[in-house]
Amino acid sequence: MRVVLVPGVLALLPEYAGLEDPVAELRAACVAAVGWLGADPVVLADPQGERVARALLTQAQAGGAPATGSGGGVVAGAPPARVLVVGNGSARRTEKAPGFLDGRATAFDEALGASLRAGRPEVDARLAAELWASVTGIERMADLGDLGPAQVDYDDDPFGVQYWVLRWQT
């Protein structure tokens, strides 16, 4: 099983493209990881994250990123071959962040990031909501079992929002 986590950044959507890409580095990491994942994965996301996932899958295909394997749909009772998770950490990490500064954000993201990198995400859903963290998809990763250590492709908070691009292969 291959699993990829990307953040639900709306600037990744083509309808919000400007002349310059404000998330070029993040986009490159996302597209590469989604290309590695392959076509037609199961998507774990909230509705906005679902749109981001679809856009990244389209961009990965258009960019000629290698699509490995064939068909990823769910076989009843069997684990999916490919899973694309959309979620991110707090949007309250700095005074300039969308949700302003919340002093608890850094510790929350450190804990969530550590659990993700270990392949066993643990989320405090109530705190996540207070800290503007988008964790719907991450919470549903529990069904995938222990994923083991992640490959970290991106780990930064360029706008006061914590983003990760992570890959797991089990």
């Binding site: 950044v9 709306l10 600037a11 919000y16 400007g18 002349l19 949007a91 969308p98 706008f159």
Partner: protein, 287 residues
């Protein structure tokens, strides 16, 4: 259709800044600031650095004054065009002249575009443009003699007159052999027009755009702006930019200007509002 200005081509979506460079001792706005050749050359370097795609070099002011003969006009612009051509190969060079003889000479020196502000007063100008493979700006002046002010001119419909005359001029240029992709029309604010006429042309510019020819507007610091706001030359930038915004929304393509940076910002902002140009860099609320 791709816009072809001499040796340069631009896509349909491009808007272009045409910066005014006067080789005159007496033009209304700069009052001779770039009369000296080196000062004019510094002005070219400045507007090129500011992003102007076109420079419009003129050797005779539009308003009445001392008569400037062909030889004197040539001496003001021809060698200067050659110098600009050599130093700025990527710049479109336009020359503001109504005389065929001057038009031929500047094209030989490297000009790409003849900006005939006087509506085809010299019938052989189109031939000069055609022979040189240059582009031409076809203006509407109501038939006035070059370098005269409008006096009690009236139109049944000034916009209809502007369309009829500029399209007829454009067709004459094409018949003479000018590339159809190299013909630009200009309703010529203030030329053969009182302030009410220029305001109506501004308000109804979309009708000129609908002819399909790329539209040039020359609004910069003109009297119709000054009279609308009762402001002297030097205090007309805000009014100029308001008129610019209205023309940009209607789809004007080329803007003949004194202030390149301010006009570029205005036109880009309007095009972005109109949905013809994406924002430069958008992240607010999209993180």
């Amino acid at each position: 259709m791709t816009l072809r200005l001499g040796r340069h081509e631009f896509p349909d979506t491009a808007t272009l800044m045409m910066a005014i460079v006067n080789r005159t001792p007496d033009s209304f706005y700069d009052k001779g600031a770039t009369w000296a050749e080196d000062k004019a050359f510094e002005r070219v370097a400045l507007v090129a650095a500011q992003g102007a795609e076109i420079v419009d070099i003129g050797g005779i002011k539009a308003a009445p004054g001392v008569e400037i003969g062909v030889a004197e006009e040539r001496s003001r612009v021809v060698d200067f065009v050659a110098r600009v051509r050599e130093s700025f190969p990527d710049l479109v060079i336009s020359v503001d002249t109504w005389r065929a003889e001057v038009g031929s000479a500047v094209c030989a020196a490297g000009a790409d575009l003849i900006n005939d502000a006087w509506g085809g007063a010299d019938p052989e100008l189109v031939d000069a443009a055609a022979e040189a493979g240059a582009a031409i700006v076809c203006t509407h002046t109501g038939g006035v003699t070059p370098r005269t002010r409008p006096y009690r001119m009236e139109y049944d419909d000034v916009v209809a007159a502007a369309i009829a005359d500029t399209v007829a001029y454009a067709e004459r240029a094409i018949a003479a052999g000018v590339d159809p992709a190299s013909v630009v029309v200009d309703p010529a604010h203030d030329f053969g027009k009182n302030t009410f006429h220029s305001l109506e042309v501004t308000r109804r510019l979309g009708e000129l755009v609908a002819t399909g020819y790329p539209v040039l507007v020359s609004l910069s610091n003109k009297d119709f702006v000054g009279e609308s706001l009762d402001l002297p030359v030097g205090e007309r930038l805000t009014g100029t930019l308001a008129a610019t915004a209205v023309c940009a929304l209607a789809g004007a393509r080329i803007y003949r200007v004194h202030e390149v940076v301010e006009t570029r910002h205005t036109v880009d902002m309007v095009d972005t509002i109109a949905g013809r140009r994406p924002p430069k860099r958008a992240i607010r609320g999209l993180q």
